[in-house]
């Protein structure tokens, strides 16, 4: 059920899990986190809390310098997979809006690569859902990183610790 808010009584409030505003963008272009956060707030009617995560291309990975990264994805399945993760998050927590922006193509060390933003009436749900979305995105969304450095090019290997981070949500109760 929609909750009453002392901050914007005239604006409709999204019903948890039903009216949650979900958005996914897979794009080559860079993004502006301030603009994305403003957009998220607009979708959430500026309620309560927003938690955001931004990931950047590492300058070094597993002890090797990285100068350029190429990100491949599976068009269609990528968007579908991320949307499924956002739907799981919005079924689990009371969210007003949740968005993911993920870049593909050629990126440089230090470039922004992924942004996750979650709006909720309360910070616990916003923090938890943001982390949940990132953990599942890393394990389920069909992206593949290829790193190019002074020692040549190689595909990044999936890490067991990323699988473990997603698996720990299995036992958790919804917040």
């Amino acid at each position: 059920m929609a909750m009453k808010s002392p901050f914007s009584p005239l604006l409709p409030v999204a019903e948890p899990g039903v009216g949650t505003v979900l958005a996914v963008s897979v794009q080559a272009d860079d993004f502006d986190v301030a603009a994305l956060q403003r957009g998220l707030l607009a979708g959430a009617h500026a309620e309560g809390a927003v938690a955001c995560f931004t990931g950047y291309v590492r300058a070094a990975n597993a002890g090797q310098a990285v100068s350029v990264m190429e990100l491949e994805h599976y068009p269609g399945m990528t968007e579908r997979s991320i949307r499924g993760i956002l739907e799981q998050a919005s079924a689990r927590w009371q969210l007003l809006a949740a968005s993911v922006v993920h870049r593909v193509g050629r990126l440089q060390a230090g470039d922004q690569i992924v942004w996750v933003g979650v709006a909720s009436a309360h910070r616990e749900a916003a923090f938890s859902a943001c982390e949940f979305i990132m953990d599942f995105l890393k394990n389920e969304a069909p992206f593949w990183k290829k790193e190019l450095g002074p020692r040549g090019a190689h595909w990044v290997e999936a890490r067991a610790q990323d699988r473990a981070r997603a698996a720990r949500w299995d036992d958790d109760k919804p917040v």
Binding site: G55, L71, E72, H73, Y74, G76, M77, R80, S81, H102, I113, V114, M134, L137, K138, N139, E140, A141, P142, F143, W144, K145, K146, W155, V156, E157, A158, D162
Partner: protein
């Protein structure tokens, strides 16, 4: 017709982004399709597609185990994902 797609390291190792196969009883499920690809591609394809960590998706959803295929399905083979 079945559309078969390969991504990332698998695409590079097969030197093939994908192919189309006429649908029929010989490719009526995922394991049959994979055997057909081995026949078509040879030992290298068997080695690459048969690796234990290869993920298979049908119509853009990951599947575990064998599943039936229908005319028009889109099948993908890819390595463990590394986005984020």
């Amino acid at each position: 017709m079945l559309t078969v797609l390969f991504f990332a390291r698998i695409r590079e190792e097969l030197d093939c982004p994908g192919l189309e196969l006429p649908w029929g009883e010989t490719v009526a499920d995922l394991d049959l399709l994979q055997a057909r690809l081995y026949t078509r591609g040879g030992a290298r394809w068997q080695e690459v597609l048969g690796a234990s960590n290869v993920i298979r998706a049908v119509n853009q959803a990951v599947v575990t185990g064998n599943v039936g295929l229908r005319d028009g399905d889109e099948i993908a083979f890819f390595p463990p994902v590394t986005g984020g």
